[in-house]
Symmetry: D4
Subunit: 254 residues, 8 copies
């Protein structure tokens, strides 16, 4: 309930069009749907311009399908199911056949994708093993209206591979860097471009890579100023961060 | 050395204006100034639109002054000295009196600030003890051309303080959230606004706050999608991240 | 053996009703049953008003059944088997068919539940993935005589979902908050209500959520004063904590 | 603004006694005082029955004095300054001489203490080095209306010292256990009493005590069910937790 | 090669009975058997009075059998295979049928056990889930000549269970305490007895128990002086520690 | 109150020599002295054959002196003050001039030392920086009746220094190994001797030595079986552990 | 593109043999092959004298085969696939039958091994469980032209096993030490030889061995100067490190 | 005592030139000097070609001087005192004026430096704050006979600064990389050169840099194969590692 709606409500009370009891009730009612096991936040798209996505792990296929149904019943915006297992994918596609499945290890299903918006996004990843996270990010970006270019396998041990693609990185409006192990790629990219850089540490590596903690700490300690970081393996979160910063904001940003 | 310069160089070789030996040399020469103890990266502003700042700790006052001199001798852009102690401040202001000092615990000195650019930035901080970090961030933002509005002491234990200022947060083009202890403010702000949110964990708190590790982990694990995080107490880094995302899209990046 | 019993024993010795050797023996004998692999603490209910529960993991189905039998042979109070696997559930229900099974991932079996006692308890949980822990807590609360109301999926990324249910939280005599990821819900609830708040961090989330450590640390560092915390995923422990604080003040404790 | 106030407001609009513009304003206005560097939450006492306390570290003496002044200007309830250093104590006592100072290492200053309320509280501490935390807890409890009994130096290496005081622990309405090192006292107390037990790990010990982390983890992993834990050295938080649970059940909560 | 052997060698050289080349060789040769994949240390029993045990994990059944064969071919002392899986047990028993298998989760196979030596050992364990570690310890103790008494399920949440068995603990020549979760049992036992106490933290518990780290740290930080600790779940190591301290040392110890 | 005393008490009741009320009282009274800020455990020496030592840090000089007075007023056994600062040493020596001060960084003051008991103890330390911990251990051992031999600066980087002293290590009845950094000395000593080995990790080293955590973990993971470990820098604890294991077997324990 | 190639290019431009556009293009082109999912770095062998190896985990068998094909299509140098699972081995051997498979747990496949180069390498391992890592290291060394001698099962608990082989360690040009648990072997070897020592911590051990973290930290904190360390279980990395230091460097090293 | 000495000894026994008792003694005597508080390892230079250095922290100035005297009394090789404070420097220079002091924060004093040996070493450091560690490394290298070239302030945020110096790095016989924060420089250097790379993580940075742990973990997880790592801030250790690998292959080692 935003400012104009609040004013309309108060005006309605003054005019006698709205009963006081109802007014109290509406002032307390907020726009979500209670499914019993979950409260679907239809308001989120309005508030944050990001839809509420369904995170698969820990939910039954039936719960996934019910949540997707509820979200599709709402207006506008993409509907996303992330990290879905096979049974969840089957259940949601049976109920809503139009979903597009992407990725292999981190399956993402998308319905009603946003039309492409302006802004060049590049998803840079360090090694082949980082691909599942990069793919989740790219799929989420596409669904949110920002289909990215991809730069794959450009880890810093062979720096020329990245430098060869420098112009794409320099020209981007936003860059996502996906890297495990020591995560040094984020620092190098951050030093090459003026664009916002969102770094995604991955759990790739073994031993001292500590399931992604090492890459996470390294990215947070980067000597390249102005890099920001999301959680380990959180390709979806990076996509949302990019969406926040690329969304048109009218005069002040356009 | 950017693309046009490279082409000019090659054209110069073709035209015989540039000697081959010199060409090889220039292809290898890169734009930094070697002060012996440091290599000042004059190129950084061009590459990343962020100037190279001088980080005070571990440097002698004389080194700070020399670095500031070198940076001021370069063209354009603000010059910043961060986390300066008193002796460093004295030394740099003696050499270059025009610097403006901000902050108390995290002193920042700025010369040649950028003119204000479009884009509304809000720096939200959770408690009074988070102020030094928030102030470093605000001072750096101002020097970079993005003087922010401030929302102070709006921690989630008294949620209404933040909700009362909701419109400022909703209308912002970028929000920086500075919080220690459990860092929950970042999640709450992230759920209220569509703007990019850069979270800065602080080392405020004791015991289980683990010098900021707890706030850091909490912000990275936020249930509000699309929040990004910088290092603990890194107000300067958050300012740089905001600067990256507010720079105008279009020609300059294309 | 409490104070009156001790006096009775001493009186018995004085009166010659109790043989000195027997007195020495009884002064050393304490009320537990030794099953060989376990010592069942029949006294615990008297001492702590909480029954000794059987924790399933690491026990054979036969051991579970034997322990349940021993506890049911004692007087009064509910008998609980927690975190039971399927084979354990089969074994105990075969031996003692009256048990009621709750939960799916964290199965709890209860016999002889306590009658409902006064006091309104609310179990608030942040996301759907937190449900198994919330359900274990609710089932244990019910068995202990405090069947709770439930508030599900009210994470802070959509704050209005919680605010809409504010009165229930405000009116409660005790609130359990179950949340993983960054655990911010505990701080927000703590700022809204005067009731005791017991926070249960869950292992929900991945990467920087560190299997619940992040939520745990965040809840311990909460800026909302007077929140207390139990172990990760310890829904049963939270139920016991609530049971302790809701027991009537006065005679029974005096 | 609680339910009756909201209804009064709406009734006022209906009756024409309240101007619509004012109504919108008041619906947005929330009860806190903005001091520039801080927003004093006058509403907190109403919401949580706990006053907003001033946490000293990181604040100037002048800020402490201003905050205390603002809180004393509000109605009812104790006013507390915690972890104050000497300069802060001087400043606040000069401005408001009535404050009572307690403790040596963790100084607490209290004005307008609550009258003693029913309910027997015992603060149990393990060793002499745990006293500063126990004293902060006891002083805060006294200010909140729950002056506690004290049991000092009853660590488990000499169990008989605690067992000798068993009745006091058994008869309490709430027990706070303050212990560093391995924190085993919490488990032992938890097994002896039916009262709510709030455990406070302290940073007492060296080496493997890890500045209180060991005691914290041990208390969270206690085999005694229903113990709850607050942050390391957080005597004030434990006092607040006890205050929450001892407030009278009934009308005010019902 | 001990002192007398060295002297005999030198005497042999002097007497011309031993060729100089051979002398050099023997001075370099040391008493182990090289099986290619392993060097069996036949000397260890002499040096440390503890036999070299075969640790099963990571070895093939054939390697286990070969190592056991080699050890049985040596003189004196028990031969032990620890943490054996089923295939390993089959292989070694086929080759050497006399081995006695103990334990279920941590299988130990023993051949040629030492005859019982003087000294009363008690293995105290906190909960049923700690039994596998306690059993490995007891089986190893028995093989090393110190068959222990057992005290099972005497965790500190029901202190009277331990106190009832106090005399056994007080009278012991060595006590092993096996406990997971918060490991408080070690401190309590350490405060009750003058005997050496070897504490074995176990990985029992979940969440904040951190796979045994919590119990380990707690035991190391114990307020009961003179407790020593071995690694997590290391029942075998505790048995060896007890064997070291109980072995007859002639006059000075007897 | 031991078994014979309990029997005497019961006999006294039977004989009518002891009043029932008094009997109840004595059954509850336990032998400690309550100084207000501390409860001195006079019983500890009886129970554990180790006196209660006064740990200096966090206590005022006056408290230290009072505690020492109380302990000296008790019967028999040494009285120890550990980790005393200068002011504490002054205070206790003024009150009780007979105390002997040892050590520089970890000052230990001892009164009424035990006469030397049989049993050869060796304290082995790895480097010069480990000396303060080794000295605390040696001083405590001497006070407890076990003055040790010393082996200093025999770290494994120059193995021959240790091997040259092998016979002393082999012949010892107990060995304490004090080492920081990687703590490898404990493993090497453990492989050379049959005696009980108590390892003391020290906080010597920097960076990856993690203030002693590395040495601690390494000692706990030692490949030499039967080594036991005490807390970081806990020389006093190691001395107590040795005292436990050297006390004569037989009547006093039986 | 190395120095001579750059000069040739510039000369070609001067001579008019190379078109300016092409020159710009070639100055930007770098020598890698883009397979879509990966960029094969053919240049690495030139730059670092180490080939780019294919790391198996996270890659499909088809991807492994394609990468191996691409590498074999390049000139010179060995081609390696590390940590391959069975399906990957099948796929690559079907495509390129000449590969030699080594190891069991950490399978390594090598084609086109380098001819043996001068320099004596010894791989020393502590226990049988460390063999898989030692074998990966040895196999990689062999493929890189440095087939090592092997010293197996020479852990420090039986020091004489290592001392017996001292001459081999002393005479080596490089020593790799592979050890888990407390990793003390690295310190002991480092104190015996003047050769470069590369330490490989392994994840062997349980509990406090922390999956290799303990050995890692211990090796980094070694009191033997000049030891260097690679990641946990990283036998391949140690082989590469040895290859770097043994490769002929012309006059100065040869 | 090396092989020839051993043979000479045996020959002496055979020839009757050496008394058997003396032979036994000498076979046991090893070449170190016992100063009481330390055992100076004169043999180390022979065994490892690295002298025993005196590590300042925790030693008195007098101990430092005594150790330096003892080492200077030995034959050949440099004598080093590391991490010396001012008082230690004064004491050793008074006793032995010829020492050369280097560095400011990590003072190193060297006597009798080795003459320069063949082999080009480069010490690369990331930022100005890393200089103290780089300087300790360079000073130790110079004393050991390997005076290095220096590359200062070439962090990856301005990659061109390093690339401009590429040839020096490529041509080196050994490269030391000194970097704090995220330590990415090691990976980039490792990808550019075939030389051995020894990485030194520094404690430079704050917050998530975790006092050097982040750089350490990142370097250990580097995607550039064959990098080795020493402890945090351990410039001296890196110098020793380089010295080991640069010593001439051949006779001296064979």
């Amino acid at each position: 309930m935003d400012e104009p709606a609040l004013r309309a409500l108060v005006d309605g009370i003054v005019a006698g069009d709205i009963d006081p009891d109802e007014a109290v009730g509406r002032l307390r009612r907020l726009p979500f749907a209670d499914l019993g096991f979950a409260r679907v936040d239809h308001h989120r798209l309005l508030r944050t311009r990001l839809p509420e996505a369904v995170y698969g792990p820990g939910k039954t296929p039936a719960q996934c399908a019910a949540l997707v149904s509820e979200l599709l019943a709402g207006e506008g915006g993409p509907v996303l199911l992330t990290r879905a297992d096979e049974a969840q994918v089957d259940a949601v596609l049976t109920a809503h056949p139009g979903g597009v499945v992407t990725g292999d290890r981190h399956r993402l299903v998308a319905w009603r994708p946003s039309p492409p918006a302006p802004g060049a996004v590049v998803v840079v990843s360090a090694g082949t093993a980082d691909l599942p996270v990069a793919e989740e990010c790219a799929a989420a970006l596409a669904a949110l209206g920002h289909p990215p270019a991809r730069l794959t396998d450009v880890g810093v041990a062979g720096l020329h591979r990245l430098l060869a693609e420098g112009p794409a990185v320099v020209a981007a409006d936003a860059v996502v860097v996906v890297a495990g192990m020591e995560g040094a790629l984020a620092s190098v990219v951050g030093g090459l471009t003026a664009a916002p850089v969102v770094a995604v540490p991955t759990s790739v590596g073994y031993g001292a890579a500590l399931e992604g903690i090492t890459a996470l700490l390294a990215m947070l300690s980067s000597c390249a100023a102005g890099i920001t970081v999301v959680g380990i393996d959180n390709g979806y979160g990076a996509a949302c961060a990019v969406s926040r910063l690329l969304s048109p904001l009218g005069a002040s940003r356009g």
